[in-house]
Symmetry: C2
Subunit: 359 residues, 2 copies
């Protein structure tokens, strides 16, 4: 990862904000800018001196990970230390902060520390804007994470059978992820079977997989800091006609949205493509969530692929396409891929069978 | 869980804050107040009408989980919907918010929505204060989670051996947690072996366990929404004299801190007890983090058991006691239990061998 270039670009973008320093408190933004992966820290960017504040748990780790900023190990909270450091540097008078991440309490504490020596100022979300477009190193890492995820699907098919609990299935999946080298799961694994498949976010539970019905499997891993995300829905036992029909509709809707992905199209249009297909099948009202989201250092990041969103797709964006249909109290289906936007369309990062699999 | 009583008590505590409504945005606080476990939501508390706003992913789940508040499924963000609802209720003029959780951007958006119809006001952290003291239902759940955690330790000892990667060990541990019914791990599992044991937060990596050295194992599960947390450090191969000496010092420091836990003592005194013992052994400067933290719905919650903290221990608090010694570049040792403060002292929730185990 070329942290040096990121720092330079971020600082360049910040200049339009007319700040003398930026306090970065959102951990994924800190990781993006300097590579630090600890669970507590604050990064102060200035035109010359960049300092990462963290605590004694991360002394060695921070020094090993961070080359682009000076590391200060502190006994107070990282943000408090950042405030004290800023208060001592009289030339830094306009201090930018991340409005989407700094809490009111943190802002109040920072104001107290700075007294009247400097003024706090909401900075534009420049780091998030940079993170929207993945560079080639990032795409390679997301691709590797997705590849690992896809590789787990075969094992999943061996494990899913009537009577086995959803938790057991999730456990087998997560164990195989670890064995394949995943650092951790990117989010709580969703294994939602039978009537629970109608819950779009049905985390694996103690419920046993029924003799007949859908099983929604939505899972992601973290590899080298980057997330994967994919969903496949399989059927245990012989599916009824209506189940087949709905599955095919979701698959077509997902394909329609994938077909819509290309530079210059708004994310709202991509969302509309999926909904339009489901409307034709009279299923649109059962598609109750957005079509997708960005993926990278975080499992959910910009852009949101949702109704009315106007962000334009650009090459290097990595997003999910995941329409679903959920019949309340009965069952549901979702199919999800992660894709990277290319010059001409998109490249699917999670290639994996979408024909209805019956177990 | 008696959500009704929690609601009533919270509202009573809020009255001193002179607010007509409270917007709760911190998800663990929402879960504490009404049982909702989804990943997006905002709860508006008023003297009469309590409303949980969430999105279409959680339609069924929210209705199944939440009895104490009305559920509104919305297409915008939950907080935006809460703001619009508040703007329509003219009698609600003083709107409290959680300063420790609401971001500046969220506050700005809320202000825009409310225009001049109502005034936003920082509310005291009443929910956090309530959560500090666990009720009997909560203690039972934390105890069950810790019991599950302790039950995994035997398997861990079978898996740890030279040449096996830390990730593989973590994977085996997490798989056995799933099989025992855990919903998920409470935090990224730490398996830090050899020189990595000197990293207090050394997440399991691809590194193989060396033929000789310490392995720090720090792990927790979530069961019925509540977290467990424990650490044991074992030694692969025959430990050298210095390793034994340091291990015993950490063990004594941990016992000293445990002995200090009782109602009326400050958390700072508990921290001091551990440090004092390590100072006698000339190891205090290698104990680079705080002695512990609260555990409950969140893996890290109030109080912090750290230098200078003045919070008084009270019966029903659940905290960790986890001193460690880390010799940079060489190796480290940590021993951690979760305990519940009782009328006379504390009750260890993670009973498990502390004699040095050699594998």
């Amino acid at each position: 990862m070329d942290y040096e270039s990121r720092f330079n670009l971020a600082w360049q973008l910040l200049e339009a904000n007319r700040v003398d320093a930026l306090v970065v408190t959102h951990l994924p933004n800190i990781q993006y800018l300097c590579g630090f992966t600890g669970s507590a820290g604050a990064l102060v960017m200035t035109s010359g001196r960049d300092v990462l504040f963290t605590d004694g748990r991360y002394t060695q780790q921070a020094r090993a990970e961070v080359r682009v900023a000076r590391v200060e190990i502190v006994r107070t909270s990282a943000l408090a230390a950042a405030g004290q450091w800023l208060a001592k540097h009289a030339s830094l008078r306009r201090i930018g902060f991340e409005a989407a991440h700094l809490t009111i309490a943190e802002r109040n504490a920072l104001t107290m520390t700075l007294r009247r020596r400097a003024r706090l100022k909401e900075a534009a979300p420049v780091i998030e804007r940079m993170r929207l477009i993945k560079d080639s190193d990032e795409i390679a890492r997301i691709r590797a994470a997705c590849h690992l995820g896809v590789g787990l699907f075969g094992h999943l098919l061996e494990v899913i059978r009537p009577g086995v609990s959803e938790s057991q299935v999730a456990g087998e999946l997560e164990f195989s992820a670890r064995k394949a080298g995943a650092e951790q799961m990117a989010f709580p694994t969703i294994i939602a079977s039978g009537s629970r498949s109608a819950l779009p976010h049905g985390r694996a539970s103690a419920v046993a997989i029924p003799a007949r019905g859908f099983v929604v499997c939505d899972f992601g891993v973290i590899l080298a800091g980057y997330c994967s995300d994919m969903t496949r829905t399989v059927h245990v036992g012989r599916p009824q006609k209506e189940a087949r029909r709905v599955y095919e509709a979701v698959r077509e809707a997902q394909q329609a949205a994938l077909d819509a992905v290309r530079p210059g199209v708004t994310v709202g249009e991509v969302d509309r493509s999926a909904r339009k297909l489901l409307r034709k099948r009279s299923l649109a009202r059962f598609f109750t969530h957005s079509t997708g989201h960005g993926v990278g250092l975080e499992i959910h990041e910009a852009p949101r692929i949702a109704v009315g969103q106007t962000e334009l797709l650009r090459p290097g964006m990595v997003i999910t396409i995941e329409p679903g249909v959920y019949l309340p109290g009965r069952w549901g289906v979702r199919i999800e891929d992660a894709v990277v936007v290319t010059e001409r369309g998109c490249d699917i990062l999670t290639p994996c069978q979408k024909d209805l699999i019956t177990l």
